[in-house]
């Protein structure tokens, strides 16, 4: 594997993602601002406590303790919306830059150049990972900066960083599902569909299924739960769960890449 070729491919991959990164960053920034910005007017309001009486429904969105700043951030952002948005970004980027480019015939000439197939594909995933981690870093920095403005100082920097990291590793896991499906030969549409299915199933297993007592155990099988727990800001994330999901991500990327090495590249 040639070093300069890898740098060139990752650079090209990031350039290709720049426009979509901008839009995802913008979307997450809006979420961040409105969530943090609403806190001063909601803090101490009875409305939040009465919300808690809705119990199960809020639990389905990871919101169990909306009256405390940490619980509020979990319920409004870190337990549901941020992981969902970052996953969307990761799936779109990972599939668009691999199976999407292959569908469009843009991988044909690249694979005829003196670069190993796996270098091309792994560079594309690396570009997605860098983009997702970059957007996550901006989101974490933004929230840290907004805390004093909207009286959320009580929430520690470490808690925000950890919750954001949990969302990012879950997103990359979902991106890896889409990458692996495409690398194994699925079209972009199918690969993204499979990845979205995994996101939805993980969410349902983590939050909806446990609402029925009989299905409570199912939560421990959810990648969403491994990466984020129930309240990532309030309680932090589990190291074991995080390592498990990182290992699964690596395994998916490796397996997909190996499958791609054994097949034909689709032409336009």
């Amino acid at each position: 594997m040639s070093g300069s070729a890898t740098v060139e491919l990752v650079r090209r991959g990031l350039l290709a993602l720049r426009r979509s990164v901008l839009w995802w960053t913008l979307g997450i920034a809006v979420l961040l601002l409105t969530t943090a910005g609403a806190w001063p007017s909601l803090e101490g309001s009875e409305a939040l406590e009465s919300f808690e009486e809705m119990g199960a429904i809020l639990e389905a969105f990871g919101a169990t303790d909306l009256a405390s700043p940490s619980g509020y951030l979990d319920g409004q952002m870190y337990a549901f919306m941020l992981p969902l948005l970052l996953s969307g970004m990761a799936v779109a980027s990972a599939t668009g830059s691999t199976s999407g480019d292959e569908d469009a015939g843009r991988l044909e000439l690249l694979h005829a150049l003196p670069v190993a197939r796996r270098t091309i594909w792994l560079s594309r995933f690396a570009a997605t990972a860098l983009a997702v981690l970059g957007v996550a870093a901006v989101a974490a920095a933004g929230m840290v900066a907004l805390r004093p403005v909207f009286s959320l100082e009580e929430v520690g920097v470490g808690r925000i960083v950890v919750a954001t990291l949990g969302a990012a590793i879950f997103a990359l896991f979902c991106g890896a599902v889409g990458y692996a499906a495409g690398a194994a030969g699925a079209s972009r549409g199918r690969a993204a569909g499979i990845a979205v299915l995994v996101v939805v199933a993980s969410y349902v297993m983590a939050f909806i299924a446990p609402l029925a007592d009989a299905l409570a155990g199912i939560r421990s099988w959810s990648p969403w739960h491994w990466a984020l727990g129930e309240q990532p800001v309030s309680t932090g994330i589990s190291t074991g769960g995080a390592l498990l999901i990182i290992a699964l991500t690596a395994a998916l990327v490796a397996a997909g890449t190996a499958a791609m090495e054994h097949r034909d590249i689709r032409s336009a």
């Binding site: 040639s2 469009a104 015939g105 044909e108 694979h111 003196p114 034909d264 336009a268």
Partner: protein
């Protein structure tokens, strides 16, 4: 590993490739001689692009043996592809880049040790505007970008899929020059086309593919010699019609007033000898149509059951 005969740049032995129920290549045997220009001809869907994609390891054969520059394409990997320049039949560029950025990126991926002066020369000769965005380029201009990409590293083997489809005659002429220069430097060119007339001026050898099998191979010079060469003569005096009909190698003589049309097989010397004894106003002997020669071959080949 068996390196294959060194005089061959490409050999395929009994190569089969299926796409579902369709057999794209059916026990294909193909040889491309080193240091020569080989035209790979066949109608659309005959399997030309499939063959080419196997040579570049973009697709893998289901059965058979492939050697490119002495190496199996899959085992050869990037080291083998460094020695090959490829122009895809359907060239899709990254539309976020300019032509300049595209060429620079390819150059980096080729290891960056290319001769920039040669890249400049190629662009200039093909009339390629490097500042343009690849988005919105005409298919002819996209082809030029692809041609620069294929030639830029002065590779030992050039594999060009329909290189002149959609390019104007001036570019076609430049292309022929580039191919001839490559051959003169001892490099090998393998180019596909669906019409012989596109490659007969540049190819030394011709391979004809139909339904995944090679149905004819030939040396273009031999073919040219074997082909009947049409002629038209306008006489200033009496027309020696009977003499011409009796001349060896002369066929299909038709007389129309002072004009005689016909075709010569083999050497035109006997015809010229007859004409020398008469008053000839005008003589026309166009390039023989090799397409006809090959079609004659096709017609002589019985249809497979």
């Amino acid at each position: 590993m068996d390196s294959g005969p060194p005089q061959h740049a490409v050999t395929c032995r009994a190569v089969t490739k299926r796409f579902g129920a369709i057999r794209a290549l059916d026990a294909l045997d193909l040889t491309v001689r080193r240091g020569r220009v080989t035209g790979y001809l066949g109608p659309n869907g005959a399997g030309k692009s499939t063959t080419i994609r196997i040579l570049l390891d973009l697709a893998r054969a289901d059965a058979g043996e492939v050697r490119v520059l002495g190496t199996d394409p899959r085992a050869g990997g990037p080291a083998l592809r460094r020695r090959i320049g490829y122009l895809p039949g359907e060239l899709r560029l990254d539309e976020r880049l300019t032509v300049e950025e595209t060429l620079r990126s390819w150059s980096r991926l080729r290891g960056g040790d290319l001769d920039p002066a040669y890249v400049d020369e190629l662009c200039e000769r093909l009339g390629l505007d490097r500042s343009r965005h690849t988005k919105g380029l005409s298919s002819g201009n996209r082809r030029k970008v692809g041609l620069v990409g294929a030639f830029m590293s002065r590779p030992e083997l050039l594999v060009l899929d329909e290189p002149t489809a959609g390019v104007d005659p001036l570019v076609q002429a430049t292309f022929v020059e580039l191919v001839e220069e490559a051959r003169d430097e001892g490099r090998t060119v393998f180019l596909s086309s669906h019409v012989l007339s596109e490659v007969q001026h540049v190819a030394d050898d011709v391979v004809v593919l139909r339904e995944g099998r090679v149905v004819a191979t030939g040396d273009v010079d031999e073919l040219r010699r074997a082909a009947r060469q049409p002629f038209s003569v306008w006489f200033g005096g009496p027309v020696p019609a009977e003499k011409l009909r009796a001349t060896p190698g002369v066929h299909d003589v038709e007389v129309q007033g002072s004009q005689v049309r016909g075709a010569v097989e083999g050497s035109p010397s006997p015809l010229l000898a007859v004409l020398a004894g008469h008053a000839v106003d005008h003589l026309l002997m166009p390039e023989p149509d090799l397409e006809d020669a090959f079609l004659a071959y096709y017609e002589a080949t019985p249809e497979e059951p």
